[in-house]
Amino acid sequence: MNQVGRSIPRLEVRAKVTGRADYTHHLRLPGMLYGKVFRSTVPHGRIRSIDTQAAKELAGVYGVFTGADIQKLIPEPYYGPAFHDQPILALDKVRHVGEPVAVVLAGDPHIADQAVQLISAEYDEIPAIYDEVEAMQPDILVHDILRPAGTFADLKHLKGRGNTNIALDYHLRRGDAEAALAGAEHVFEHTFKTQQCLHLAFEPFVSVAEPGENALIIYTANQSPSFVRIEIARLFGWPENRVRVKVPFLGGGFGGKLYIKLEALVAALAMLVRRPVKIALTMEEQFYMITKHPTTFRIKSGVAKDGRIVARTCQVHWNGGAYADIGPRVAQKSGFTAAGPYDIDNISIDSYELYSNRTPAGALRGFGVPQLVWAFESHTDLIARELGIDPVQFRRKNLLRNGRPHASGTVLHDAAITEVFDSLVARMGWDKPFERGSGTVRRGRGIAIGLKAVISPTTSVAIVNISADGSATLYTGTVDMGQGSDTAFALIVGEVLGIEAEKVRVVHSDTDVTPYDMGTLGSRSLYHMGNAVRLAAEDARVKLRALAAEAGLPEGTNYPPEEIFKKRYGMQAGNAIGTASFVPSYKPPDPQTGQSDNVTPFWMVGGSGVEVEVDTETGQVRVLRLVNAADCGKPINPGVARAQLSGAAIMQLGFTLSEAMHLDGGQVTNASLADYKIPGIGDIPPMENELVTAEQHSGPFGAKGLGESGTFGVSPAIANAIHDAVGVRVMELPITAEAVLRALRAKAGRPLDEE
């Protein structure tokens, strides 16, 4: 029976509905100490003093630790995936409100919490910078010097650079955009902005470190256990095999729980006190850990008389906050798709990752692409309206098609842009008459589509073990945080070995056991790990055939595995172990022009169509219908795939209509679910989610990643629909009722007062 393509429930459903699924959140170890973090109250300042005396004296406190204590253990306690810029605890300087400055350890977390209130610190405050465009000027410097990690060849030129907040500047040049703009019939220019928001996984950040003999075990809610192992080993100057990282299920990740978050801190503390240490953040503290980049995107297009876009220039400023995290990769790897899924001969992109005195920004479901699509699809819609061309017709004229070169110079293959777009248009019934409302309640509709390239180059390794009774076990470092990766891989193993997916055992990340994986991020797992799993299962089958030959069985006979083992070893014994590494081919882009003929192994395509109702008296927007479509290649588990598409769109709905971190003097003033509004069950419009089936020829059984595609089109489709309904354009996320009302009143010549 074919396994791939079956819609099956996740393997772990029973554990999840009975409350017995294993999360790091629950972990308790004998002798464990709980850490609570004392955080900076100023956005930018030199630390003058930290007074921990009163905290140390509180009964039940085991110890209080500052950056100086960490430095006794780790002289260079700076970590990060792209830059080694983030201290485990602040050393000379604090760079954002909420930055960890000291930690209290106690056997009871309530006592640790109480002791944190007894700590005080004095700072010499430095003026702070919050805006990504202002940060281009070196008037206020967040870091004195750039410290790129040695691992990335293309960041080496930044080493030692000072007098700048630009962590990375990325440039792409194709054709001659300036000349083409000068010669274009029409030129349009707009600037769009996005807000700072965050992942808010319901299992907040949590890590536990347990020191052992010549080893350190880290139990953590993390999406990239292999990276954690390598980075912790680097910090301690150890070989990788002294660090063991174990990850059970995650209570949500969304790109937040990547790279190092609490792991270096618990590791250092556990080594200092030689006891297990657990740090579990509160929901409020998550607002000071990692966020989504605010952006300012200036986009300019030249359009020929016949409606073809002939030139586009893009300047994207990414507000990376106080520490680089993976921001430079976002600026670059998503930056090159900033011109959108359009066939444009002349393109220029400048993408800048900026330091500022905000909570750091990293990857959040889309790796920067939703911010880009927000801008280029709003812009594209504005052009169409200005030219009096139907937005669907205008897009259709300009969409990039397979076989044509993308802005990066890579010829597009296996990207179902046209198919996704056609499916949206058909579902929306774009050609049919549309009821536009009357009086104070008006209706409109909008459409938007985005394109993303998977991050490259990255590696995944898998092991498939066939036991002597024929049962199969998969060892994979992919972290199942709800996306259903365990189940998808079980289907792939089942397909190759001819067994039911439900009978395949999937062993969760444990770096002593599961082999390397770059990380569960950027929709890469199904493709990269999926290919590794397929190859490992095939390798296991080859090993099994070798056993059959050793047992003297004739080639080509179809003995069941358990018979082969029994014939070979005389009893139920032995294993057939298959392994495989998968790393797709890749050509790095030219550093000057960003051109490469092989910039990514696969493209993701996602779009949305919406119908909205706008109350012209209040600015209230109601989404009446949300249609999402995405290229999913050939789905491995269609039911779960559809839920991914739907969940991504719902998450983006929050980022579009309500979610925003509000700052006052660098302090987040709405750091709770009471004041930071995420979508609830009452906020979900009628939705349709369409998996556009295509084939990713290089993917496992034709599949590709899908976890982010549902986010791409939602925000601009809504802005476009609002414009369609009431003729005003919102240029900045989130699209609150206030923003719409302000735009309506400005258009009517009766602008509302600021504040």
Partner: protein, 154 residues
């Protein structure tokens, strides 16, 4: 703070323990190795810590442990005590009504309470009743479907 002895019924069993008055119900349950109620937002807004006390849903993060004295406390773990899943749990599986699963026990318990009040709930009943439970993975459409399926599966 001094611990106090409390006696209560936990998932049908009479139990007794000493607990300090500042601890909440989630911490109390963890002492009994019950982890289905999870503290997430800490403000009674997300529903991840939902527990039934005398048959009524409460937020375990806001409910002092000592208030459980003399009460009947039921957690998600009681639903399959006999080995079989409840019809709500089965419906959540059949409809794929969760992704990461962290909020799921809260939704499952709240759905049981919803179906007691509204055996045949409308969409509005469901949205109204489950408005205090949040799901960051956005499995809401599947959750609504699961509630309806559970209602039919009597």
């Amino acid at each position: 703070m001094t611990a106090r002895i409390i006696n209560f019924t936990l998932n049908g069993q009479k139990v007794s323990t000493a607990i300090e008055p500042h601890r909440n119900l989630v911490e109390l349950l963890q002492r009994f190795d019950l982890f289905g109620a999870r503290e997430s937002c800490g403000q009674g807004l997300c529903g991840c810590c939902t527990v039934l006390v005398d048959g009524k849903a409460v937020s375990g993060c806001l409910y002092f442990a000592i208030w459980a004295d003399g009460k009947e406390v039921a957690t998600v773990e009681h639903l399959d005590a006999g080995g079989a899943l409840s019809k709500v749990q089965q419906a959540f599986i059949d409809c794929g009504a969760f992704q990461c699963g962290f909020c799921t026990p809260g939704f499952v318990l709240m759905t049981h309470q919803l179906l007691e009040a509204h055996p045949d709930p409308s969409d509005d009943d469901i949205r109204d009743y489950l408005n205090g439970n949040l799901c960051r993975c956005g499995a809401y459409p599947e959750i609504i479907e699961a509630v309806k399926r559970a209602a039919k599966a009597t």
